[in-house]
């Protein structure tokens, strides 16, 4: 009762002073309002990002914990380190004892073997592909098919001639071009083509070795791959989803391509440019005009006409030319190809007004006619990797499907990973399996004693066996030799099937551990490390955040920046508050003295000043908090667009829709007010030191 009245007395006096020094009040309230605003918005976003990131990282690759060798030279980064390249993670020679030790812990649900490494994907070109097709039709003896393929070949050769004459306009090295042109003229010769159609090996090889390289080999691309036990992996990583084809069958060697990689690196160039522009225009809402990046893409697009033309036979070309004419893009007449080239160039010249229509037209009328992706499920690709001893090793793997991580579809980081079976992984890593040892044995008997000795000598030197036919000491194979590499690799090194038991034990580089209760993560981490080390296992245990490399650290950086910004605001606010109280004391010496003289304790004066700060702070903090809620509610509707890949990863999608967390909204302004109030205790105590005798002062 008394307290309430005393408080109301303090508040009345406080309010009067706040009104009296309005400007000061507004400045302080604004500062603290900013603090409150920033903390509500910042903490909300941080919390949302952390939650979505945690879900993404745990649910895609990392699991809750990761174990790997203590001898690793690099820290494990499941999404790759910030410097692209292979990590040295050491090796877990046999996973079985690790699994046993982990599963003894009642909190551990599963242990999923993994191995992350990087390899090269060998790629041919369109002419290689059609020559392959031609050879197979020659073998089959189907004359209709052969005619079709020959028509295709002639068409491609004509295109190449057109392309070459275009190149002549810009290229300096005329001699080489003219040589290529002469070769092409020869290839287009009627008699030569008849030789090809009759299966003349010399003519075919001329095409393969002299003509095919003219159309240019694509750069081999680097592929990150994760070798794992697919059954265990699918069970424990809910973010994984197959978007095309099928998942890896248990006990079969194979690869699941990342959808992101396929879209970004293995898709037809024209389609890829359309996709990129669409994404920037629609998701990021950046108009084509005026944006340098968009302009670069727009200018690149017309040059891709050849990428469309290459896949068309004469009938398809005629049909496309017709459709384009019907939609208002007319050719110049005369030659079909020259006309279509003109039409395609016009078609691929896009701006803001026609882009959407062109995009739709492309996917409706052009995409079905061309090979949209270089690699599709069902095909077998050749993965190459350097083993630890420096040998280039090639392993054929069948592409079963295309996958992506739920919510991380657009992230380059999460999409960098392709999934292979553990057996293929070990093969690429350079481990000798029973099958390859047997293979080696057979080879030795075939090749003879002398070679075996040489092979043994190398084995002894480098401590790691590598089959002789794969031992290519040169670095990346030169582009034109891709077909040569493939002929060398036709013999399968290892069977396509394997026993499930083979991957339950044996080599892995790391392993994900899934636990039952995430709140016990640190506890389990320490327990596992202790248990495994007690059993003499070489191990390092890290949590998902540590395992996610710089992506995981990114949230910590954002948090630090936020804390720093809040810290600066608070320090400025607190200095101003304290200063204003101390200055204010001078103006109010007589009033304070009077109160002290007539019996107010020092604590009353302190309370009065704290009430003033408290009210100001609460006022600012509530307004700041309310503005923050308004902003967040708006962002919740429109979303925050991700402008960078790392951000996409943090957002777990192209846009983040922040949620309103009542605890943050309520607690932040209260906390801000409390800190401000508590921090002004010093100045308030200073004010309380005014002597009661000051009441007698006459100067006013």
């Amino acid at each position: 009762m008394q307290t309430i009245e005393k408080t109301s007395l303090v508040l009345r006096v406080a309010f009067r002073n706040l009104w009296l020094y309005r400007l000061k009040t507004i400045v302080i309230a604004t500062l603290l309002g900013m603090g409150s605003f920033l903390s509500v918005v910042g903490l909300t976003l941080l919390r949302d990002v952390e939650a979505s990131m945690q879900e993404s990282i745990i649910g895609s690759v990392a699991g809750h914990l990761q174990i790997y060798s203590k001898k690793a030279k690099d820290d494990l980064a499941v999404f790759g380190s910030s410097f692209m390249g292979r990590q040295d993670l050491g090796v877990l020679e046999d996973l079985a004892p690790y699994r046993q030790a982990a599963l003894q812990n009642p909190e551990v649900e599963a242990l999923i073997p993994m191995g992350i490494d990087m390899g090269l994907l060998a790629r041919g070109n369109e002419l290689d592909e059609s020559l392959d097709a031609l050879r197979s039709s020659l073998k089959s003896g189907d004359s209709m098919l052969l005619n079709e393929r020959m028509e295709q070949l002639r068409f491609q050769l004509q295109q190449l001639t057109t392309e070459l004459s275009e190149r002549k306009k810009v290229v300096q090295n005329m001699a080489e071009l003219e040589k290529e042109e002469a070769d092409l003229t020869q290839a287009l010769d009627q008699i030569f083509l008849q030789r090809v159609a009759s299966g003349d090996e010399v003519a075919l090889q001329f095409l393969e070795t002299r003509i095919a390289p003219i159309s240019g080999e694509k750069q081999p691309i680097y592929l990150m791959y994760l070798g794992t036990d697919i059954a265990l992996y699918r069970e424990n990583f809910p973010k994984f989803k197959v978007v095309q084809g099928e998942t890896l069958p248990v006990g079969q060697r194979g690869i699941l391509l990342s959808n992101k990689i396929r879209e970004d690196q293995l898709k037809n160039n024209a389609a890829r440019l359309f996709d990129k522009l669409m994404k920037r225009k629609e998701n990021l809402r950046i108009p084509l005009a005026g944006d340098p990046e968009n302009q670069r893409l727009v200018q690149d697009l017309p040059r891709q006409y050849a990428r469309i033309l290459a896949y068309l036979d004469r009938a398809e070309a005629a049909e496309l030319s017709q459709t384009l004419s019907e939609s208002g893009i007319k050719g110049e007449g005369g030659d079909l190809i020259a006309g279509l080239v003109q039409q395609l160039k016009t078609f691929l010249t896009v701006d803001d007004s026609n882009f959407m229509a062109r995009y739709d037209f492309f996917y409706k009328n052009i995409a079905p006619k061309i090979k949209l992706y270089e690699i599709s499920p069902g095909e077998t690709i050749m993965l190459r990797s350097y083993t630890k001893s420096g040998y280039l090793k090639s392993v054929p793997v069948k592409v079963y499907g295309v996958y992506s991580f739920d919510g991380l579809e657009d992230s380059d980081l999460a999409g960098a990973m392709n999934i292979v079976d553990l057996i293929s992984f070990r093969e690429l890593y350079g481990q000798m399996t029973e099958a390859s040892l047997k293979e080696l044995q057979e080879m030795r008997t075939q090749v003879g004693i002398r070679d075996i000795k040489a092979e043994n000598a190398e084995d002894a030197l480098f401590g790691e066996g590598s089959p002789a036919q794969e031992a290519t000491p040169s670095p990346v194979a030169p582009p034109s030799s891709s077909s040569a590499v493939e002929t060398l690799s036709i013999k399968p090194l290892i069977p396509d099937q394997f026993e499930p038991g083979e991957i339950a034990q044996g080599l892995a580089l790391n392993a994900a551990v899934k636990i039952r209760d995430i709140s016990k993560i640190e506890e389990v981490k320490q327990q596992l490390e202790k248990d495994m080390q007690a059993q003499g296992l070489d191990v390092k245990v890290v949590n998902w955040q540590e395992a996610s490399g710089f992506v995981g650290q990114f949230v910590n950086i954002v948090r630090l920046v936020l804390i720093f910004a809040l810290g600066v605001i608070f320090i400025v606010a607190l200095v101003i508050i304290n200063n204003s109280i101390i200055v204010g004391t001078f103006n109010r010496i007589r009033e304070i003295g009077t109160m002290r003289a007539i019996g107010a304790q020092k604590s009353f004066v302190v309370g009065m000043f704290l009430a003033e700060t408290g009210i100001t702070a609460l006022l600012g903090a509530v307004v700041g908090g309310a503005l923050a809620v308004g902003l967040l509610a708006w962002l919740n509707k429109v979303g925050i667009a991700s402008t960078h890949d790392v951000v996409t990863f943090l957002f777990s999608g192209p846009r983040l829709y922040p949620q309103l967390h009542p605890a943050i909204i309520v607690l932040c302004p209260i906390f801000v007010s409390l800190i401000a109030t508590i921090a002004s205790i010093y100045a308030a105590r200073h004010a309380a030191h005014v002597k009661p005798a000051e009441a007698m002062q006459e100067k006013e």
């Binding site: 007589r590 009033e591 009661p692 005798a693 007698m696």
Partner: protein, 226 residues
């Protein structure tokens, strides 16, 4: 008659730069309960210092001040504050009201700090005092809306509201015209009679001095006449 304030051999020295100022020299003074005493003298004679010492707002360099027989020299700041609140009333030359508060709230202020009385008890006491000082109709007015004389009446009511045994007034009429000042002194004197409250006030106005039952004249920190 018992002694309200006993000043025993009190000296007060203020440091002033490297030298010091002897404000009071060996003062011996006893003020009996119910007296209406004025402390007179030219400015700088030590009037304020003496009032501060009696009002427990300052401590003597040597000697002792006893309020109602109780020594104040060993009391803490908290105890001195409590003593001021319970035993002493203060009236200031510039009235020193709290501007934001109404007349009623200004008078209530010490009672609220004291925290002894219920709302009803406070109300009765405040209304009674407002009647007595002639401010019955101004209860809800803000103190900065009042005239000088009215403000000093509020100050008197505030000084009396805790029923102190001693009221100290520092030049209570200095900021008022002589007619108003006279009425204020009359009011104080009436209260002195009716409440038996000891009044000690400083002044240099001869008209005011005439009203006092006792005049202590100070000069250069010494009691010149009594």
């Amino acid at each position: 008659m018992s002694v309200a304030v006993d000043i025993a051999n009190v000296s007060k020295v203020y440091p002033l730069g490297k030298t010091s100022v002897q404000a009071l020299r060996d003062i011996r003074l006893a003020i009996a309960e119910g007296e209406f005493t004025t402390i007179a003298g030219p400015s700088g004679c030590g009037k304020s210092t003496l009032l501060n010492l009696i009002g427990c707002m300052d401590t003597p360099t040597t000697g002792e001040v006893l309020v109602e027989g109780r020594s104040t020299s060993r009391l803490s700041d908290r105890e001195l504050t409590r003593l001021r609140l319970d035993k002493l009333g203060f009236i200031f030359q510039s009235f020193n009201l709290i501007p934001v508060l109404t007349v009623y709230q200004n008078i209530e202020f010490p009672l609220l700090i004291q925290g002894k009385l219920s709302r009803q008890e406070r109300h009765e006491r405040i209304v009674g005092l407002m009647d007595e000082v002639g401010l019955r109709d101004q209860a809800q007015q803000k103190s900065n809306e009042l005239s000088g004389g009215q403000r000093q009446r509020v100050a008197i009511a505030r000084a009396l509201v805790t029923s102190p045994r001693i009221v100290l007034a520092d030049e209570p009429t200095a900021n008022l015209d002589s007619a108003t000042g006279e009425r204020i002194i009359d009011l104080m004197k009436n209260i002195n009679r009716s409440h038996k409250t000891t009044f000690i006030f400083s002044t240099h106005d001869p008209q005011v001095m005439k009203q006092a039952t006792r005049i202590v004249r100070l000069k250069d920190g010494l009691v010149l006449a009594d």
